[in-house]
Amino acid sequence: MYEEIFIAGSGGQGVLTIGRLIALSAADEDKYVTYYPSYGAEIRGGTANCMVKISSNFIYSPIIEIPSITIIMNMPSYVKFINKLLPSKFLFLNSSLIDEITKISDIYKEKSLKIFKISATDIANKIGSSVVANIIMLGAVIKATKIIENINTVKNVIVKNFKEKFWELNFKALNAGMETV
């Protein structure tokens, strides 16, 4: 197994959290993992991104050149990264915040790229809080790509890393995300 996952969005959307949860979960499933956060002068509302690699073998560089999976959470990141970091296998877009995505299917239809448009922010608002849009996206990604074999691995990581009062909301978001795929 070898997956290179690029995740981008705005600072405050929890894109680094998606990356960390994937990395910690994959590690719990005995994979080699690296996680590298973008470390610019990021501000709330600016773009933030991270790179996660999962492999059955030692991972050399933490930096991704061509991702196998790209997850984009907002419009500025979409504009910035869509051409630079177009994935080879799966593209996930937060359709609540990204317009123009009707075009993308046309542009890249010749590629064997699976595109998932997930209205993560809208669903998050429906289940109670826009802050879990990232977890909804995570649920969709795991269901579609199977980068994490068992969803309970992710739930355990949430339990280990989040405060107890947030568990229920995050489990709900994870399930809602899985149902979109």
């Binding site: 960390r20 990395a23 690296t34 590298y36 470390y39 050399y60 560089s61 933490p62």
Partner: protein, 353 residues
């Protein structure tokens, strides 16, 4: 025990395992996680955490703690380490063991906050004034950061010398899985037990007073001191050189790289071997002392060396000294705080063989 940690946090855990007593530092990216972690954890362990008013203050606080025989460290990134050079020179003149960590960022000046390897000269040539060296360790994985930090105080006390751990911002920021129990990356350091501490300043009750100083004004005193330092440095060169060799036995071209650049180089040599290009890699884990002899021996059979660094060419000078003209030495570098990729290395190698 398996852990997934950021490089900077692994450093903290390693230093605590290694017996850290006191940490002093002034904030700078990309190493702030170290201060943040210690601020939370050290007070709970009844150890000292102090955010200094400047890097100059921090390194002198390390000095103050080191004279008492306690295990002190500081961490910073390139511009901050430049500010500490006077203090490091004094620590070396006074032969005080301590740990100094440089999570390198791009320079010169404030440069940027991304990772680089531009402080090789500064680290391996002393950095401050006077004839001196510090031991320089260069980890290439989160596990090695952990292990080197854990062993650094023993190494420092064995020779009464500051140990410098340098790694780029990429290794500092990245998270990676590792096993704390595995032997990988462990530094085996042989020491006489107990380590001689008959020099520390802990109050002269029932013993003669001691002095720790670097001002040696008497006739011939300083020269004698420097000859003694020289003898110590020779001992370190003999005992403490460490390097890893990958596929060097039959290599036609041998790469030399350390830190994160060595990971790209390692990926490159395995990919080149799939194309039937016999490439190997030497990865110095100690930048001072440098593996001159090991590289010189390889140069008897390998005709081409390629040094890969994230700078304009610094370690390449040491490789040239080691090779001493009997093989060709090439250089590939990225000096702007960007990570070198295996593809770039492969393309370059294909162009020179």
């Amino acid at each position: 025990m398996k852990k997934v940690l950021q490089g900077n946090i692994a450093l903290c855990e390693g230093a605590i395992e290694g017996g850290l007593d006191a940490y002093y530092a002034y904030p700078i990216t990309p190493q702030n996680e170290i201060s943040a972690y210690f601020a939370e954890v050290l007070p709970k362990l009844n150890k000292v955490f102090l955010q200094a008013e400047s890097e100059i203050a921090a390194i002198n606080m390390v000095f103050g703690t080191a004279v008492t025989g306690k295990r002190a460290m500081t961490s910073s990134s390139s511009p901050g380490i430049s500010l500490m050079q006077e203090g490091i020179s004094y620590l070396c003149g006074c032969e005080l063991p301590c740990l100094i960590v440089n999570v390198m960022r791009g320079g010169p000046g404030l440069g940027n906050i991304s990772g680089s390897q531009q402080d090789y000269f500064q680290s391996t040539r002393g950095g401050g004034h006077g004839d001196y060296h510090t031991i320089v360790l260069a980890p290439f994985s989160v596990k090695e950061i952990y292990e080197f930090a854990k062993s650094s105080f023993i190494l420092a006390e064995k020779y009464r010398i500051p140990v410098l751990i340098i790694y780029d911002g990429y290794l500092g920021q990245m998270m990676e899985i590792f096993d704390t129990e595995s032997n990988e990356g462990k530094l085996d350091i042989t020491v006489d037990q107990p380590i001689d501490k008959n020099w520390i300043l802990d109050g002269a009750k029932d013993r003669h007073s001691r002095k720790i100083r670097s001002l040696l004004m008497n006739e011939g005193e300083l020269e004698k001191h420097n000859w003694n330092l020289k003898e110590k440095y020779e001992k370190i060169k003999k005992n403490e050189v460490r390097a890893k060799f990958y596929e060097t036995d039959d290599a036609e071209i041998c790469l030399v790289a350390y830190g994160i650049a060595a990971r790209a180089a390692l990926e490159a040599i395995y990919k080149l071997r799939e194309k039937n290009i016999k490439a190997g890699l030497i990865r110095p884990q100690t930048l001072w002392p440098f593996p001159y002899n090991e590289i010189a021996n390889l140069a008897k059979k390998v005709k081409k060396f390629l040094v890969v660094e994230m700078n304009l060419g610094q370690m390449v000078e040491d490789v040239k000294l080691a090779v001493n003209g009997i093989a060709d030495v090439y250089f590939y570098g990225r000096p702007g705080g960007s990570l070198v990729s295996s593809k770039e290395i492969i393309d370059y190698i294909v162009s020179i063989i």
